[in-house]
Symmetry: C2
Subunit: 344 residues, 2 copies
């Protein structure tokens, strides 16, 4: 995919130092600072020469003639792909993450993961809701409510429950409903949704009218589940963290970003990209293809249920985020979430 610019060891080290420094304090880095930080015993003049080369290669840029250099997107890319030394998380941090996630109720793990990501990294945390590709009907149940209203409960895939209230033309007795449910359960429990729909469609004409209504509702609900799992959704936490960063000072940019968060579409598109690529993904600045995220990077990792990738989580923050710390956090969180979702 990427044919790296050819640069020698010295240039690499300098680029690395420069990026690290820039990530640290967000100021353009000058030759003198770099000379000091790199620990290479080179004079600023030499460094200036190297910088000129790196600038020609498009890896660094200077905001104006008399400022230091800052990394370009390509500079970050090279840094992230080849120069980055990732700091392994201290094991107690891992334990802490595990503990916090483990102690939340099952229904709220997703949200918690998002919050955790944001807390630990001081960026915004993202977790895409898990999707399932197969929908197997586990159980169906009808409960009579007052007058002509019936509560339909659908259990699919062992865990998920969907419920809805429907209105019928006539009143059903508990006994009647029981019968219908029994029939449907006997017939369809354990089957895949698509095959059930086929059955229903086939038997549509000959079925009794009331039965028909109920069955149709059930299929509709199941369809809705499938649909909602395709149109996807995600949870975000700690957006306000982003307001700390100087590069977000432009109110208009910031508004665009926040609007993108609530529109969801673009974010989902990025996350969707990640779900198809094995392993971690990093989008730096404009790489994501959306101008709203121009100054932002997104770091993602897929998470699994029963060894099957079902979603993606990650963080979004300024391009000059501390990748060396963020990457392992995202990685580990994905693993913890996976094990948590799979184990029981």
């Amino acid at each position: 995919m990427s044919n790296d610019p050819i640069i020698n060891d010295r240039a690499r080290t300098l680029l690395k130092t420069l990026v690290e420094r820039y990530i640290l304090d967000g100021q353009p880095v000058g030759s003198r600072t770099l000379a000091r930080d790199s620990g290479m015993n080179l004079s600023p003049a030499t460094i200036r020469n190297v910088m000129a080369d790196l600038e020609d290669l498009g890896l660094v840029a200077s905001p104006h003639t008399s400022a230091g250099r800052i990394p370009t997107v390509q500079g970050y890319r090279l840094f992230v792909d080849r120069l980055l030394t990732i700091k392994p998380l201290r094991s107690n941090v891992v334990d802490q993450l595990k503990l916090k996630l483990d102690s939340t109720e099952r229904q709220k793990v997703i949200g918690s993961a998002s919050s955790l990501l944001s807390e630990v990294t001081n960026l915004a945390g993202l977790v895409m809701l898990p999707r399932r590709d197969t929908v197997i009907l586990q159980h169906i149940e009808f409960l009579p409510l007052t007058s002509n209203r019936i509560l339909v409960i659908l259990v699919i895939n062992d865990q998920e429950v969907q419920n809805r209230i429907i209105h019928t033309n006539r009143q059903f007795s508990t006994e009647e409903l029981h019968q219908v449910a029994n029939y449907l359960n006997a017939e369809f429990a354990g089957k895949e949704l698509s095959s059930i729909r086929q059955h229903i469609v086939d038997s549509l004409e000959q079925a009794r009218d009331d039965m028909h209504t109920l069955m149709q509702t059930a299929v509709e609900m199941a369809d809705q589940i499938v649909e909602s799992s395709q149109s996807d959704d995600y949870v975000i936490a700690g957006e306000s963290n982003l307001m700390h960063y100087a590069e977000m000072a432009d109110m208009d940019k910031l508004r665009q970003l926040f609007e993108a968060f609530s529109t969801k579409r673009d974010i989902l598109h990025i996350l969707d990209h990640s779900i198809h690529a094995e392993g971690m993904q990093i989008f730096i600045g404009e790489e994501s293809g959306y101008s709203a995220f121009g100054e932002c990077s997104v770091v993602t990792a897929p998470y699994k249920v029963e060894d099957q990738v079902v979603g993606v989580l990650g963080v979004i923050g300024p391009t000059r985020m501390a990748y060396d710390r963020v990457i392992p956090v995202v990685d580990v969180t994905a693993k913890i979430l996976s094990s948590l979702l799979s184990s029981d």
Copy 2:
């Protein structure tokens, strides 16, 4: 409650004009502008005298000596309480609101209401989730999943369904579970939660162990529902709208505000206040008692289910919001939501 400052008709009209003008363009209003806008045929000099009086009364203030006047919180208060002429919504707007809300699925009405409020007012929309004071067990159901996992489904108050997976020490057969469920339903369906808990506690010792586990889980789940209805929650939409307003330009203030949104506590406190007061409520600036909302006003209205107030909705925006337009929107939305939640 409030002993209004005594001001004559002329002063009132001028204050009204001033507030309206300030709401319109956010600039301190000078005597000349006011002379023109008020339509009273007074010279700027006269107006200056009146303004001096209003300033003494604490109704207006000037940012500095050579600027015009802006309303103080007390000024807004007087304006809102006594001077405001509310623009009735055009009926097609009402219809539109109705239509949009009516066409969303029942489960998403709350969220929709919030989005609608924000869209129509260009502010942030808030809807507190409905709370219920009585929890009546309607039905309980156990479904065996793989190995020792059981899905417990709890139906309360006709509509709400709560489900959770529990782990048991031994495996239960479908038949067994059916029996337990039947017993529990026969015994407790239609009863109030608190009385059920009493029963369970009483019969705790003599119950068989497995039964005990299941029953206890059921009570726990019900408790959780009650708890979640007490600790409350709300939905917010359109926060990014707030970034349009000049008075939110201070990034630090803005961050505090957004943090308050995600912390939820303070917002909930404000909404909670409103739920106990019949009718619409308006908190102007510091009146809310939270510094994070210093520059903001909150307009709320309660909404009902079956003539019972169950929640509050409203908007939050800068103190200089267009109260005359916002108030009817909030009012009408509350009414529409109420009728929608009650009708079926």
